[in-house]
């Protein structure tokens, strides 16, 4: 018995070593950094232990702006992207001819590089000395005045960021939802047709409950992904996100480490742990809700 369990541990050893080196150790390290007050990265010294880093971060206007941006991004993109993805998947599931062509088209953004897509968005939205940008041209056709989406007002920039995020995360959701829809046993729909069930009721009473586990999965991973957003903002607004007022929490962490104002691992660690707490809370709430719904 003892020998057997030794063998088990031996098999696990590579994974444990790997995870220990690259996950557990850094996590603990982050925790330690976050409570070391006045840490100096040059001399590697600090003068105390406490929660000062947290209180500094929580009062930093840049951090508060980043939290606000992230929350808006999450609140808008997660429901919208999931909803749109569901609509598109339902559509894809309903058409027979050219289905695989459509599926490929909808999946393209997923295999396209974030920065390349960012470039395309710049072309669509950016106002330069030479051009107004495609979207502005269209706005002008309809008689509206042009807006600078990249360097202009806050709402315009937020709109572009949300638009972009939804665009980038949708393909994966469509992929998951189309396969979830396709895996619903067609006998259920035949049974519903036998009773003359109306389409909306079929969707609401049969389809939705059947694919609800997948929807919850997408919502939870969507929340986590949106909270971790960073590269999308960089792709659109460049690396100085604080100046653009479009920083995210992860962006703030990065800036504290390596940005112009970099070299503050303690503040970065504190911000990272605050993000961790937020994501953990929201995920727990999500899981609770999904448990409740699936029981009833």
């Amino acid at each position: 018995m003892k020998k057997k369990s030794m063998k088990g541990w031996l098999y696990l050893l590579p994974a444990i070593l790997f995870l220990g080196c690259f996950m557990v150790y850094p996590l603990i390290d982050v925790l330690i950094y976050s409570v070391e007050e006045g840490y100096n990265s040059a001399s590697q010294t600090y003068w105390g232990v406490g929660l000062y880093n947290y209180s500094y971060v929580l009062r930093d206007p840049y951090f508060l702006q980043a939290v606000k941006n992230t929350l808006i991004l999450v609140a808008i993109t997660v429901p919208l992207s999931t909803g749109f993805a569901l609509l598109i998947s339902l559509g894809l599931n309903a058409v027979k001819p050219l289905r695989s062509l459509f599926q490929t088209v909808y999946f393209l953004p997923y295999v396209t590089n974030t920065l390349a897509v960012g470039l395309v968005f710049m072309i669509l939205f950016k106002k330069t000395a030479y051009t107004e940008g495609l979207v502005n041209l269209m706005l002008q056709w309809f008689g509206a005045s042009s807006v600078d989406f990249i360097d202009g007002p806050y709402w315009a920039k937020m709109f572009v960021l949300c638009f972009y995020t939804i665009w980038v995360v949708m393909p994966f959701k469509i992929l998951i939802l189309t396969s979830a829809l396709a895996s619903v046993n067609p006998e259920y729909y035949s049974a519903a047709r036998m009773d003359g069930t109306r389409p909306f009721r079929i969707f609401y009473k049969i389809t939705l409950p059947m694919i609800s586990p997948m929807i919850f999965y997408l919502v939870i991973t969507g929340f986590i992904g949106a909270f971790k957003a960073y590269s999308d903002a960089v792709a659109l607004f460049g690396t100085d996100l604080n100046a653009a007022g479009m920083n995210t929490i992860v962006g703030y962490v990065y800036d504290m480490l390596y940005g112009n104002s970099g070299g503050y691992p303690s503040f970065a660690s504190a911000a990272a742990l605050i993000l961790f707490a937020i994501v953990l809370t929201i995920t727990c709430v999500n899981l609770l809700i999904s448990k409740k719904t699936s029981v009833n």
Binding site: A191, M194, D195, T197, R198
Partner: protein, 372 residues
């Protein structure tokens, strides 16, 4: 409500040019009498489910018409036909309770047809009572056994009081004991409600045991229809003869010459009527009588005792299958030390079929009471 099928045909177009279209149902013409239980019988893939789907309206026919009573329902959507369908895998909604599942069809009704909440509950409970699952109403389908799920599915099909009930392989997902029970149960429910019921099966035992009438089909073509015993006793072709009966009928290559049937070299039975020709001979296992001086000699392989009767397994060069099985009463002892066993044949258990078309070739039976 009687159901009449007129030139009913369903053709599924082929996916690629190389394949031919599948004609799942080929020119069905028959009438299912009111209030009877009909067994639709045939091997897997012969078009049984498609026939049901046509009758209930889930699939439109390529050609032909369907009448319920005197009404042409060919173009009616399923919900307006007054049919209930029980699916092969039950198709119970897993997230709804038994009660919600049974009530589901009622909740789709609109306008004047829609019962009140109390009436819905009442009717659901009535249906549940009919199939004896009143105690399970609050459970989810996953908390039920296969047999119980089956009953829920039947209750859901009955709750709208259909005029015609269709069951697609209702017993195929049940274990052997439950299968026996459930088929009695289906019979009971059918008799109690008097609903015209069509049930599909590939198991001839099932069909024979509870049906008022059976319809045998093969590759989309209806072969024969009639009361089970009649079809068993008078199969129209070799397919029907082999499909009905367990153990299966024994098939031999034979020849009719001068009014006698020859199998191998043996002159085994007088078969007056047909001209001299090569035939396929079907002999039911119960058509053999042990007789030391009998004309039909088989190579004895082994004897299987089954208590009530005895199964003699033997071989013969002219047999189509490796072994021949004859069932004889247990009181007739077979001498196991001998290499051959000799039989007389009962003429009404012997069928001749055209060697090419496999259609039945009738011959004149001797008068009652005289064995050939």
């Amino acid at each position: 409500m009687k159901v009449v099928l007129e030139h009913l045909t369903k053709r599924f177009p082929s996916r690629s040019k190389k394949e031919e279209d599948v004609i799942a149902v080929n020119d069905f013409n028959f009438e299912i009498p009111d209030g009877k239980l009909i067994g639709l019988l045939g091997p897997s893939g012969c078009g049984k489910s498609t026939t049901l789907n046509l009758i209930c309206g889930l699939e439109p026919p390529t050609e032909g018409k369907i009448y319920f009573g005197n009404d042409d329902v060919t173009r009616l959507p399923p919900e307006n036909r007054g049919v209930g369908l029980v699916f092969q895998n039950y198709a119970l909604y897993p997230h709804l309770t038994v009660l919600e599942n049974i009530q589901f069809p009622l909740k789709n009704l609109r306008g004047a047809e829609r019962p009140t909440k109390e009436q819905m509950l009442e009717r659901a409970k009535e249906a549940a009572k009919l199939v004896q699952i009143e105690g399970l109403l609050e459970r989810k389908p996953s908390e039920l056994s296969g047999g119980q799920q089956q009953r829920v599915a039947i209750a859901r099909a009955l709750v709208k009081m259909p005029k015609v009930l269709l069951l697609d392989e209702p017993l195929s997902n049940l274990d052997a004991r439950l299968r026996l029970q459930t088929r009695e149960e289906i019979r009971r429910i059918q008799l109690e409600t008097g609903i015209t019921t069509i049930f599909v099966t590939h198991d001839q035992d099932e069909a024979m045991s509870i049906s008022d009438m059976i319809v045998v089909m093969k590759a989309g073509v209806m072969q024969q229809m009639g009361p089970p015993q009649d079809v068993y006793d008078q199969p129209v072709n070799l397919f029907v003869a082999t499909f009905l009966g367990t153990p299966q009928i024994n098939v031999f290559d034979g020849e009719v010459k001068n009014g006698w049937l020859y199998i191998g070299g043996d002159r085994v039975l007088e078969t007056p009527g047909p001209e001299d020709q090569k035939v396929s001979v079907g002999i039911r296992p119960e058509g053999f009588t042990l007789d030391e001086n009998g004309p039909f000699a088989l190579n004895l392989e082994r004897v299987e005792v089954m208590g009530r009767d005895t199964s003699v397994v033997s071989t013969h060069p002219a047999s189509r299958s490796a072994f021949i099985r004859s069932i004889i009463p247990a009181r007739n002892r077979v001498d196991k030390t001998k290499k051959t066993v000799r039989f007389r044949l009962m003429p009404d258990k012997v069928f001749l079929f055209d060697a090419k078309t496999e259609e039945r070739v009738p011959f004149t039976l001797p008068p009652e009471g005289v064995e050939g």
